[in-house]
C-alpha cells in the first residue's frame, strides 16, 4: 500500500515538516500569501456584482494569466501552486472569468508540449490575455474509468485525401464559447495523444455555448467534423503523451477543487458573520448550539478539505516540474498514480464538501439565505457544477478504490 502509507512523505518532500531549511518553500509560501491577499482584494469588487464578472484586462495586468509562463516568455515562472491560489480566490468570490480555460488548462497544455517557436509565442501571448483559450478535453467521469486517458480522448486525427482531418466532440468545455484559440486533445494516427490548435471559426469546427444554472461559469461544446488541420497545428507532448494528458486532467480536477475550497470558506465566513449579528429570541442565533455546531462542522470539513487540496497541489506541482524538466523519463507511472491519488482525494472530498457547506449556509441563513440577493445560491450552484466537472466524487473514489485494491494485493505491509 505504498501510495497510501507513510512512503508518500518520502516521495513528496514538502510533506515533511522542518525539512525545507535548504529549499525555497518558505519564500514560496510568502509569495502565495501575498498573491492571495492581492487576489482577495481585487476579486472582492467582483463578488458584489450580480454576475460577478471580473475584468479580464485586470487579471492580465495583475500577472495571473502568466503565472506559470516562464520568465523568458514574460511570465512569472512560478508553479501550479500559485495558480491554485488564484483558483481558490476566484471560488471565494464566485467570480466569473475565463481563467480555467486560459491560465489553468491553456497554459498547462502549452507547458506540457515540446517547446518550439509557435508554442512559445502563444505562451507569451497567453500571459497578456489575448487570445483567450479553451482546451477541449473530457471533463466528465470518462477518463477516470479503468480504461484510463486514451480511451477518453475526445478527438481523433485521420488522413484522408492527402490532408489530415480532425473529428470528435467534447462537451462541457470550460470557457469554450469565449475562446479565440482552441487546443484540442486528440489521438494522432499512431494513437498517441497530441494537442491540436484550432480556431472557433475554422472550417469543420463548431463551438456552441451551453447555458448552465451557475451563471458564473461558461461552458460549451466543441465539435469537429473532418476539419482540415495544418501540420504545424499538431503539437506533441513532451515525452509520453499519455502522461501529458493525465497531468492536464489532474490540473483541471485540482483547479476545480481549489475553487470549491474557496467557495466553501466564503460560505463559512458569511454564515459565521450572519449568525453573529442576526438576533432571534433575544440572542444572536450563533449562540444557539444548533447553529454553532453546524458552523463547527463546516469548519471541520473545510479544514480537512484544505489539507487534501494542499497535498494534491504539492504533488501536482512536483510532478509537473519534473515533467517539464525531464520529459518522458521524468514522471513514471507510479509517480503519476501518486498525483492522481492525491488529486482524486482532494477533488472528491472538497467538491462534495463545498456543496454541503453551501447548503448548510443556506439553511443557517434562514429565509434570507434562500433569496437571490443573499448570493448563497450562487455558491450552491457553483459548488454543484464544480462537483461534477472533471469527475464526480463517485468516479474519483472509484479510481481510488482500484488503487486500494491493487495496493492491497501487493502485500501485507
Amino acid at each position: 500500500m505504498s501510495a497510501h502509507s507513510s512512503e508518500l512523505a518520502v516521495a513528496a518532500p514538502a510533506d515533511a515538516p522542518g525539512v525545507d531549511a535548504g529549499t525555497d518553500e518558505g519564500a514560496d509560501e510568502e509569495l502565495r500569501a501575498e498573491l492571495r491577499a492581492v487576489s482577495r482584494d481585487l476579486l472582492a469588487a467582483a463578488a458584489g456584482k450580480d454576475d460577478a464578472q471580473v475584468d479580464w484586462a485586470l487579471l492580465a495586468e495583475a500577472g495571473w494569466l502568466g503565472l506559470e509562463v516562464p520568465d523568458g516568455l514574460d511570465g512569472a515562472g512560478v508553479t501550479v501552486a500559485e495558480t491554485a491560489v488564484v483558483c481558490e480566490e476566484l471560488g471565494r468570490a464566485a467570480a466569473r472569468a475565463p481563467y480555467l480555460g486560459t491560465a489553468v488548462l491553456g497554459a498547462g497544455a502549452l507547458l506540457a508540449l515540446d517547446p518550439g517557436d509557435d508554442r512559445d509565442e502563444l505562451l507569451r501571448a497567453l500571459a497578456t490575455g489575448a487570445p483567450r483559450f479553451a482546451v477541449a478535453l473530457p471533463t466528465g467521469d470518462a477518463p477516470l474509468g479503468a480504461a484510463g486517458v486514451p480511451g477518453a480522448v475526445p478527438f481523433r486525427l485521420a488522413r484522408s485525401g492527402g490532408a489530415v482531418r480532425l473529428t470528435g466532440r467534447a462537451e462541457f468545455v470550460p470557457d469554450a464559447a469565449e475562446a479565440e484559440t482552441l487546443l484540442l486533445l486528440a489521438l494522432d494516427e499512431g494513437d498517441e495523444p497530441v494537442v491540436v490548435r484550432a480556431a472557433p471559426g475554422q472550417p469543420g469546427v463548431e463551438v456552441t455555448a451551453t447555458p448552465v444554472l451557475d451563471v458564473s461559469r461558461s461552458l460549451g461544446t466543441v465539435a469537429a467534423v473532418d476539419a482540415p488541420v495544418e501540420a504545424g497545428s499538431v503539437w506533441r507532448f513532451r515525452g509520453d503523451g499519455r502522461a501529458g494528458g493525465r497531468l492536464l486532467l489532474a490540473r483541471g480536477a485540482l483547479a476545480v477543487a481549489c475553487d470549491s475550497l474557496g467557495a466553501a470558506e466564503a460560505m463559512l465566513a458569511a454564515t459565521v458573520e450572519y449568525a453573529s449579528v442576526r438576533h432571534q429570541f433575544g440572542r444572536p442565533i450563533g449562540s444557539f448550539q444548533a447553529v454553532k455546531h453546524g458552523c463547527a462542522d463546516m469548519l471541520v470539513s473545510v479544514s480537512v478539505g484544505r489539507g487534501l487540496v494542499t497535498e494534491a497541489t504539492r504533488a501536482l506541482a512536483a510532478a509537473s516540474a519534473v515533467h517539464v524538466a525531464d520529459g518522458a523519463d521524468g514522471v513514471d507511472d507510479a509517480a503519476m498514480s501518486a498525483v492522481e491519488v492525491a488529486v482524486s482525494r482532494a477533488k472528491s472530498y472538497m467538491c462534495a464538501a463545498a456543496v454541503d457547506v453551501a447548503g448548510k449556509a443556506m439553511q443557517l441563513h434562514g429565509g434570507i439565505g434562500y433569496t437571490w440577493e443573499s448570493g448563497v445560491h450562487r455558491y450552491l450552484k457553483r459548488a454543484a457544477l464544480s462537483r461534477a466537472l472533471f469527475g464526480s466524487p463517485t468516479a474519483h473514489r472509484a479510481r481510488l478504490a482500484r488503487h486500494l485494491d491493487a495496493d492491497g494485493a501487493g502485500g501485507a505491509r
Binding site: V272, R283, K292, C295, A296, L299, R306
Partner: protein, 458 residues
C-alpha cells in the same frame, strides 16, 4: 536543529530496521485474551525496549531522555505504525500528561524526582473527573484542606474521582482538588501529585462497555499529600491542568492517525477483499469500494490535519488569533471543561514548545500563511472531533461488512488501539474517543466559539 531531508530518510531507515528486529512477532495473537498482569508486563517490557532505542519519550527535552524534533517524531510514529508495533497504552498518562505538567509547571525538584521514575516505568493516572464534574470539570467537589504537620504542611484530601484510567496499576496520580471552597469555580482548585500508596485511598474498577476494567473510581478519605507535591501556585490548578490536557493532542493525535491509516485501513481493505462463501469479494461492489475510497480519503485528510497541527505547534503559531481573518473573531476564553487543552494563547505558545520538543531548538520559521490559522484556538478540537468520528464510522462500517462473524470475536489484542480489525469491539471502543476529554458536543462548542468566534450561550 532542523533535520535535512537526507537525515530524515536515514532516520526512517534506521527505525525501520529497528522495528524489523524488535517488534515482537505475532504480538497481536499473543496479546489476545491475556490477563491484566500479562498485559502490564508486556507494556513495561515494550516501553523499556523503546527506551533503550531512544524511542520511548522522543518528545521530551534531550536532557531528560528525548530530543527529537517534530519532523523526527513524525517519522518515528509513521514507522512504528507501519510496522504495527504495540501501542504504549499503559504509559500514556505518564509520558504525556505527567511529563507535560512537570516540564511546564513543575519545580526542578519535582522533575528530578519524577521524570526518571517515569522512564523507569512508574505509572501515572489522571484524577480529574468526578461524578458531578464530567464535561463540567470546573464544578469538581473533591476538597484539599491545607494543614500543618510536624514534617511540613500537607493537603488533606477528601472526595471521589471517576474515569481514572489505569488507576489499578498506578504509582502516582495527577490530582485536581478544591483548595479554596469560597473562590469562584475555577479559582479555588489546586494541582497535586499524589502517591497512590497513600493511606485513605480506595481504588475500585469500573467495567466499561466491553467488560474491561481499566477505568476506576478513586475514593479519597483524609488522604494526606505533602505540600511540596503541589504543582504551580496554590489555587492555580485549573491553569496547570490546561497544560496537562493539552498534552493529549498534537503528536498523540498524529500517532493515532497513523495507526488508523496503517493497520486500520489495511484491515478494512483486507476484510473487504476477502471472498465470501460464494467467492464474491465485497470490494467488487461499488457500494463497498466507494466507502473504502472515502475512508482512504478521510484518513489522508486526518493526517494532513495532524501534520499541520504538529508543524504549527512546532512553529509556535497554533491559535494565534492575531492572524485570524476578521470574521473568525476569538471569543472570550471558556470556563468549561470544554476548553481543557486550550490555555490562553500566550501560555499555550510557550508550553507547547516545552511539551513538544527541546526548548533549546531554534523554532522553524513561521512558514504558514494566515489562512493556516483559520481554525484559531480550536485546532485540537477539530482534530479530536474528526479523528474520533472517523474512527467510529470506519469501525462501524467494518462491523457492518463483517456481519454476523463480527459478533463471534470476543476479545481483541491488548496493547492495540481501536483499529484492531475486531470490528464490533473496535466500534464499541470508539466511544472512548467521542466521549472522554470533553465530549464531541463540548468540542463543537469550542470550535464554534474559539475557532470561529461565535457568541457564547447567554
Amino acid at each position: 536543529m532542523n533535520a535535512t531531508l537526507a537525515d530524515l530518510a536515514e532516520l526512517r531507515a534506521t527505525i525501520r530496521d529497528w522495528c524489523r528486529a524488535h517488534v515482537p512477532a505475532d504480538w497481536r495473537r499473543a496479546q489476545t485474551g491475556v490477563g491484566d498482569d500479562e498485559f502490564v508486563a508486556f507494556q513495561q517490557a515494550w516501553f523499556q525496549e523503546l527506551r533503550r532505542a531512544g524511542y520511548a519519550v522522543p518528545h521530551w527535552p534531550a536532557e531528560w531522555g528525548g530530543g527529537m524534533s517534530a519532523a523526527e517524531q513524525m517519522v518515528l510514529y509513521q514507522e512504528l505504525a507501519a510496522a504495527d508495533a504495540p501501542r504504549l497504552v499503559l504509559a500514556f498518562v505518564s509520558i504525556h500528561h505527567a511529563a507535560a505538567t512537570l516540564l511546564t509547571a513543575g519545580t526542578d525538584e519535582q522533575r528530578r524526582r519524577h521524570l526518571p521514575g517515569i522512564l523507569d516505568g512508574e505509572i501515572w493516572v489522571q484524577g480529574f473527573s468526578e461524578p458531578e464534574a464530567g464535561s463540567d470539570l470546573a464544578s469538581l467537589r473533591t476538597t484539599a484542606r491545607r494543614e500543618s504537620r510536624a514534617g511540613g504542611d500537607v493537603f488533606v484530601v477528601n472526595g471521589q474521582k471517576l474515569w481514572a484510567s489505569g488507576a489499578a496499576h498506578a504509582d502516582w496520580c495527577l490530582l485536581l482538588a478544591r483548595s479554596d471552597p469560597a473562590a469562584p469555580k475555577r479559582r479555588g482548585i489546586s494541582y497535586l501529585l499524589m502517591d497512590m500508596r497513600s493511606p485513605g485511598l480506595d481504588v475500585r474498577p469500573i467495567r466499561n462497555a466491553l467488560g474491561d476494567s481499566h477505568f476506576c473510581e478513586i475514593f479519597l478519605n483524609d488522604v494526606e499529600i505533602p505540600a511540596e507535591n503541589l504543582v504551580g501556585p496554590e489555587n492555580s490548578g485549573w491553569q496547570v491542568a490546561q497544560a496537562t490536557l493539552a498534552a493529549e493532542r498534537g503528536m498523540t493525535m498524529l500517532e493515532l492517525a497513523e495507526r488508523l491509516g496503517n493497520v486500520g485501513l489495511r484491515s478494512l481493505v483486507e476484510t473487504c477483499r476477502r471472498p465470501d462463501a460464494a467467492g464474491h469479494r465485497p470490494i467488487d461492489d461499488t457500494l463497498v469500494a466507494d466507502r473504502l475510497a472515502g475512508f482512504d480519503t478521510e484518513i489522508a485528510g486526518l493526517r494532513a490535519l495532524c501534520r499541520d497541527l504538529v508543524e504549527r505547534h512546532d512553529a509556535g503559531t497554533v491559535g494565534d488569533a492575531s492572524q485570524a481573518p476578521p470574521a473568525m473573531r476569538r471569543s472570550q476564553d471558556r470556563t468549561a471543561f470544554g476548553d481543557a487543552g486550550q490555555a490562553p494563547p500566550a501560555m499555550r505558545r510557550s508550553q507547547d514548545r516545552t511539551a513538544f520538543g527541546d526548548a533549546s531548538q531554534a523554532p522553524p520559521a513561521v512558514r504558514r500563511s494566515q489562512d493556516r490559522t483559520a481554525f484559531g484556538g480550536a485546532d485540537a478540537s477539530v482534530v479530536k472531533v474528526y479523528y474520533s468520528e472517523l474512527l467510529q464510522r470506519m469501525t462501524g462500517f467494518g462491523a457492518e461488512i463483517a456481519g454476523l462473524a463480527a459478533q463471534t470475536e470476543l476479545s481483541k489484542p491488548a496493547s492495540s488501539g481501536w483499529e484492531s480489525g475486531r470490528w464490533l469491539l473496535d466500534f464499541i471502543g470508539s466511544w472512548e474517543w467521542t466521549i472522554p476529554g470533553g465530549t464531541n458536543e463540548i468540542q463543537r462548542t469550542i470550535i464554534g466559539e474559539r475557532g470561529l468566534g461565535l457568541p457564547r450561550e447567554p
